[in-house]
Symmetry: C2
Subunit: 189 residues, 2 copies
DNA sequence: TACGGATTATTCCAGCCGGAATATATCGCA
DNA sequence: TGCGATATATTCCGGCTGGAATAATCCGTA
């Protein structure tokens, strides 16, 4: 019926599987659980996402409460349609790879606008930055292992690390081949 | 001054390095050169992008011509500011890795909402689809090699293939571990 | 030569995102 | 007890994307 759920919409629905809550509570939980590593978590976007879910009948307002004179908080609950949408979305997103056009590929495609020397330096800098990210992910993974968390809750970190490591290794090969002039480069700009 | 160039804006500027042209001509060239493999090429977005580049002084209208009674076509040329912006953007995009939050990672993060059996099937289907994409990329690479094109013009395909292969290998390991129950899965929904 | 379909070329609109603005309440501390 | 800083909670607005609408011309063909 509707287009596939946006990441934030999916996350919101997944939280409502646990229990009804209001948007700001979801926002806090997403930050606490470090979902920011996997998607962009912005309060503004979250409110918009929930508004759409409500409009489309995937969640429903179950009441408002008010603490002090703060704005009313609307509590939302999951509907059956929402539960199906979660299942359908996750299924589809796992099953089908889609090219999401990473910016790095765009840059590679235009890299010939730079000189070979410039490119080598930039590739080296990227390589270093990737190593740092990979280390961070390793720390996260070790910590989760230590706390004996079910692997299904953190294997996304292992996935990310694997892919980043592959990019780093590719960069290493390219840098080496650029240095030895094994890889031909067009006349610099 | 302005925020980093969008992929389409970058591509437009890169085309104007060759010679001045009008938007539709850029659009055709982008399709011809298969830039659609690296970014989303939509005519509507391209016109918007060029409008912004013009507003920001990175390109400038150098005249209009008219063939028959068709709408006037405005030809654009690159400015010095545009040339610098191209260089700066490519430099920055090559140098600094940014997490772009791939949808697959989002789905992995919510995969525990499915049963282990469902997940295995979906992972297998994804694995198969990835193999097909990898083959396609290999064909493209072989063809470019055969035509002795400078490698800098197609190494983005090699990059994509490398990353996809890493994802496939990761999936293979996960599928195997799920089958042998080596990887623990939370109580299914 | 009349017609339909593809090509050429651009504009428009609705949707999503995200930074900023807004407004109140609470807490630490001097 | 008064003050600023931070947390709570939501709304707003501007920007980018992309599908659809629009419109004229060209081309093949019957």
């Amino acid at each position: 019926m509707s287009s596939p759920l946006t990441p934030l919409a999916l996350a919101a629905i997944a939280l409502l599987v646990e229990r009804p809550m209001h948007p700001y509570e979801m926002y806090q939980l997403l930050l606490e659980r470090r979902d920011g590593h996997v998607m962009k978590v912005r309060a503004g976007s979250l409110y918009h996402a929930i508004e759409r879910l409500d409009r489309d009948g995937l969640v429903t307002a179950v009441g408002t409460d008010r603490a002090g004179n703060r704005p009313e908080r609307t509590t939302y609950a999951l509907t059956d349609a929402g539960r199906s949408a979660l299942h359908a979305s996750v299924t589809e997103m796992l099953r089908t790879p889609v090219n999401e056009f990473p910016r790095f590929a765009v840059a590679l495609n235009e890299a010939h606008n730079l000189s070979l020397e410039e490119a080598v330096v930039l590739f080296e800098q990227r390589r270093t930055a990737l190593d740092a990210e990979i280390s961070e992910l390793t720390t996260i993974i070790e910590s989760a292992r230590g706390r004996a968390v079910d692997e299904a809750y953190w294997f996304v970190a292992d996935y990310r690390r694997t892919v980043l490591a592959a990019e780093r290794d590719w960069l290493d090969r390219i840098i080496d081949r650029l240095r030895t002039k094994d890889l031909t480069w067009p006349h610099p700009a």
